[in-house]
Assembly symmetry: C2
Homo-oligomer: 166 residues x 2
DNA sequence: GTAGGCCTTGACGTCGGCGTCAAGGCCAGA
DNA sequence: TCTGGCCTTGACGCCGACGTCAAGGCCTAC
């Protein structure tokens, strides 16, 4: 099987496959014309890579799984190194979900306050009264400060909830 | 106040300020030497930008808030455009948190399976028996497929849970 | 013969938000 | 006067995972 066919079968591009090869993840044999040649085992390796990427794993993090498969194991996660990556990911996911949940709450609160303030202004326009209450973004933001937790390097390509500034 | 002082006061860098200016977010007056000059109002604008960035807003998304403040409103979110950004963000956050939660569950399940399989292998080593059960990553991954939902362009700098491939 | 389709390597482009030089100007204090 | 510190603009670097274009080779069908 040549590169185009493999890419089609797994639903990716030839460019991606060459990229993986350049990273040493998915080496290929060559035929007489210098064309890359792949077998069924490579389909499995590639599927493993793609599945993990869909979960948001970085390419480097898929390496243990790929090597595990290549060393003859029936599954990519049948090796300690792979399991370790799973564990790390879980931790990152939990941290990230926690941060996002905190941010969500904060933004939700700001939205509610802003809407209330605007409603108040509208009401004032109807029946003029006193001035409006402040509605600056709370300093809780600094406390909640959704900061790059524990080297959360793209948990799912979705990290980077802002790094420490200063 | 000059650029260095402003940066210090808000806890950012002169580079960032010049960048914001290049984006038209934080224009500055100049003194006789061509040096940038800022006032207290600029401190508030910059704080608004930084607070939102901490929440994971993209720079462009802070623009309505900044313009709102500059147009004389007491708060950056006292304008409809700002409120609209809040709403959009909430939706993106909810979607992202949902995706991450699904991924977390999936990865957690895989981890459990992998650990159980390895424990089984260890047990077999002790008391040899039958072969091991499969433990490939489930196809649920394709269903759950954490894919770029609704143009989730960096909800918090944390988007990109993988775009559609193909 | 030639058009089409697959393959090859090489290399620059993308996106965001700056970091990090480089080369130089202006001003204050010792 | 010289050193140090602040400022200026310009421009390349970074990161990840490729997209995309360029220039060319091989093979096949018509």
């Amino acid at each position: 099987m040549r590169i185009g066919e493999l890419a089609d079968r797994v639903g990716t591009t030839t460019r991606a496959l060459r990229y993986y090869e350049s990273r040493g993840l998915l080496p290929a044999r060559r035929d007489g014309n210098g064309h890359r040649t792949y077998g069924e085992a490579d389909v499995r390796l590639l599927e493993q890579i793609r599945t993990l990427q869909d979960f948001g794993f970085e390419l480097e993090e898929t390496r243990p799984f790929v090597e595990c498969l290549r060393s003859g194991h029936p599954a990519g996660d049948a090796c300690p190194a792979s399991v370790a990556v799973y564990r790390r990911k879980l931790g990152e996911l939990d941290a990230l979900i926690g941060e996002l949940t905190a941010v969500r709450a904060e933004v939700g609160a700001q939205l509610a306050r802003a809407e209330q303030a605007m409603a108040g202004l509208a009401a004032d326009a109807q029946a003029p009264g006193g001035p409006e209450p402040r509605c600056e973004l709370s300093d809780a933001a600094d406390a909640t400060d959704v900061t790059d937790v524990a080297g959360l390097t793209d948990v799912a390509g979705l990290t980077d909830v802002r790094g420490v500034r200063g």
